[in-house]
Symmetry: C2
Subunit: 501 residues, 2 copies
């Protein structure tokens, strides 16, 4: 059904994220002849490439009847420029769609089924609606261990896979939700100082005020290509880089978007998401930190243990050694929330500064110790003391400097020009800290785009405070953002719970 006559591309610069949209004048011959109406899915071809997009019809002079436009992501994917000719055809029936339906109807899917779904996800052939149906089909414990393993395998196969030419390759992952919990760069510095290989690919923030890549970027370049990363790892044994440009489990990025929109995080998909990224990054021994707390991602130890079991079993199916630790997720770690503030905290730990936040230090040592043991760089039970040695002797710091230099040079941490202190309305004891609200305040203040923006927390759970005592300081780079964050913070009386005692 390819039509010989196409339409001329005219860029409009509309960004609809990953959802490919094609814009056509409602009166154009393609709409009329093909019976295409708004929301029709259609195949768009140009320059020998094609993708599937959703039609929006234009009822104005924004586009002429011989013109067509694409959302930014679709434009980039097809590589078209103004004046290029685009061609349209009907969408073929996708096998992936029928597999998603089968899963919804209660059937178990196998490897080839998941491969088809993942391939059509990555190729942009499935609409967001289909992806939502797939996410829904997998929710509520509907993926068993074998299906989770098949999905993970399919996600790995659909992207690039790194090979470091040497084993073991250790990694460490945190199942998010805890502001300021920036142990990763410290762990990488310690375990690579012990001679282990830990090439760490991290993500940027999606809904949080900082991802590890955002924080690390304050200290060194993180947007390296694969050959640059190989040079860094060869020289130092480790790296802390942004993994988003490397096409490691690209289906994961697409599915995560949908899961976030629906606030649906099934254990099956969470496990496939984490493990596919780790396997694609070439790791074979992975420690996974599960912070548990009422406002963390995992809300109870029961849920954490269930998730832990699935992680370990699916890991075993795929030849990946997985260990998990349940950690305290009741309050932020360290003091800073936001890229630069977190970078400051972790530098203090690495430099053995007297004022370094003790909780961040302890947590990093604990996790690094476990990784050292998993990587056979410390005897069982001796990992944490070995990690402490490496840190206290300055070897971790030297190693971190080397990694930053290899990545392009250690940078100094910026300071926010604007701050505002939020104080306690009453005296009492701190009984509760809402991680989610604090994260939101830091984002309103500009994090992570504004690197220096965020929240600097001055209190911990259980601490006694006086009325008027500073609870946290807002940091911002722009007056408007400071104002918004301050206004929102003022409305959130429960963010720091203080009880008379």
């Amino acid at each position: 059904m390819n039509r010989p006559s196409g339409l001329r591309f005219r860029p409009l610069g509309i960004d609809s994220a990953h959802d490919h949209i094609v814009y056509m004048n409602a009166g154009c011959h393609i709409c009329r002849a093909e019976g295409f109406a708004a929301q029709t899915r259609l195949v768009v071809a140009a320059n020998g490439h094609s993708l599937i997009a959703t039609l929006n019809t234009v009822h104005s002079d924004l586009l002429g009847i011989d013109e067509v436009s694409l959302s930014v992501s679709a434009q980039q994917r097809l590589g078209v420029v103004a004046g290029d000719q685009l061609y349209f055809s009907h969408v073929p029936v996708l096998r992936a769609e029928s597999f998603i339906r089968e899963k919804l109807y209660g059937h178990r899917l196998n490897g080839p089924h998941f491969e088809a779904i993942v391939a059509d996800t990555v190729n942009g052939r499935l609409s967001d609606l289909h992806l939502a149906a797939f996410v829904a089909a997998c929710a509520g414990e509907r993926l068993d261990i074998r299906e989770t393993a098949s999905l993970t395998r399919a996600m790995v196969a659909a992207g690039a896979r790194l090979d470091w030419g040497s084993h073991p390759v250790v990694d460490k992952h945190c199942v998010g939700g805890l502001p300021g919990n920036r142990t990763t760069p410290i762990v990488v510095a310690i375990v690579t100082a012990a001679g282990l290989l830990m090439p760490k690919t991290s993500s940027r923030a999606i809904t949080s005020p900082a991802g590890t890549a955002d924080t690390m970027e304050v200290l060194a370049p993180v947007d390296l290509d694969l050959s640059a990363i190989r040079r860094v790892v060869e020289r130092t044994g480790g790296c802390v880089v942004w993994g988003g440009g490397m096409q490691l489990s690209p289906a994961d990025d697409l599915l995560i978007r949908i899961e976030r929109s629906l606030d649906l995080d099934s254990d099956g998909q969470l496990v496939a998401s984490i493990l596919s990224k780790k396997i694609a990054a070439g790791s074979d021994r992975v420690l996974i930190d599960l912070p548990v707390g009422p406002s963390a991602k995992v809300r109870s130890a029961v849920l954490a243990r269930k998730l832990s079991k699935r992680l370990c079993r699916v890991g075993a199916e795929l030849g990946l050694m997985v260990e998990t630790v349940l950690s305290d997720g009741s309050q932020p770690i360290g003091r800073g929330i936001g890229p630069a503030l977190e970078a400051r905290d972790l530098l203090q730990v690495l430099r053995n500064d007297a004022e370094a936040p003790g909780d961040l230090r302890l947590r990093a040592l604990w996790l690094a110790g476990r990784v050292l043991e998993m990587g056979d760089a410390a005897a069982p039970g001796e990992g944490m003391s070995r990690a402490a040695e490496l840190l206290e002797q300055g070897l971790a710091w030297r190693q971190f400097e080397a990694i930053c230099e290899a990545q392009g040079g250690l940078r100094s941490v910026p300071c926010a020009p604007l701050t505002e202190v939020v104080t306690a309305a009453q005296a009492g004891r701190v009984t509760q800290i809402d991680n989610r609200v604090l994260a939101r305040i830091a984002k309103l203040a500009g994090a992570p785009e504004a690197k220096a923006a965020g929240v600097d927390l001055h209190i911990k759970l259980g601490q006694r405070v006086e009325a008027g005592q500073p609870l946290f300081t807002l940091h911002a780079e722009a007056p408007g953002e400071l104002r918004y964050a301050a206004r929102y913070a003022a409305e959130q009386t429960g963010v720091i719970g203080i009880h008379h005692d």
Copy 2:
């Protein structure tokens, strides 16, 4: 979180169907301050109204940094014009979202749950992704009878409900998928000639080449307001009008869009869809025709019986008398496929023309007979002969004329200016007719927008044909459409299966 400073509305005329989109310059202060990125959902307020829309950011001079635009449906819903000020805030947490999640996690939902979901669907607060998740959550037998009844009740309650002041009010519905199956106007004419009340609200085609409203519109106006409909029904006892403008079960229209996109038609949602429309239209005795065939909507008798049971049981829960008939869905009914061609067929039946298609006549009499019995206008077993009397004595035709006159005047049926005959490539017996492909050909020829366009079928299953004998004739109003339909038809060798015998 309402911000005091808004953005100025500038219409762009982009139609994204029911999916509300808000367009903002990526550099505007709202995007920056609120951390809104592409695909964020946000509340848009203007003129005392508000709705929830998905953000698309604009990276061009299409919009200034103090401007904002909306998709056509959102613009209409807010009633804004160029220059109006729009205000933005974060989306509150919707209870409906958590109920959808609960359903996905395997919990049973009750009346208030469905009411919340349906209300947020109708209010445009749920995104298409959430609706897809809801449709998915209900797929695969996951709604039991009580849940289906609760959903139906909630769908009725969320819209207008007609009351005809008299009982019984009979109705007849066909679970689609069979081209040319235009019995409804004939049934209405016959049963209202017998004195029953049958105010029929019909739909236009969504994916088919003609809906009952499209076909009826060839013969009389169908887009009447409620008071006009009441006058027609008071005068004649019946009507055949378009029900789309009356807000009868408006959630149904929104959910059907998503089900179509996903090609997911769970029995639970199908039943809620059909019955909510009937109850809202004020019917209390409904006959439902289930055509069964390999290329019809219901593909086997087993599936039809399951659906039938659910229709009757849910109907009973809601005080609606439902009877079903399983009918032959193996080939099109009558000869014409497309509004005018179908109108021609049904007029031939009503006028007792010698060349009237016998299958359409028989089917209409059969269904009318069942409705007469359900409405106590014929003794059990005598409905069909009573229907035949009313038809043969010309009472049905006189009644149909009266209804058309009351709706605004009987119109003459248009003829397509362009036709092309498709002939048999070989001699043999017709063993298969693909309803779906024929429907698609009729649509490519321009139906239903081009009223006279469509397919005129010259053969029936089992008939012997010679090589070169006409199988069907394409009717079109424009040369381009005739060409497309002919080209597609030439590629579809299996549309009429002919076997040597």
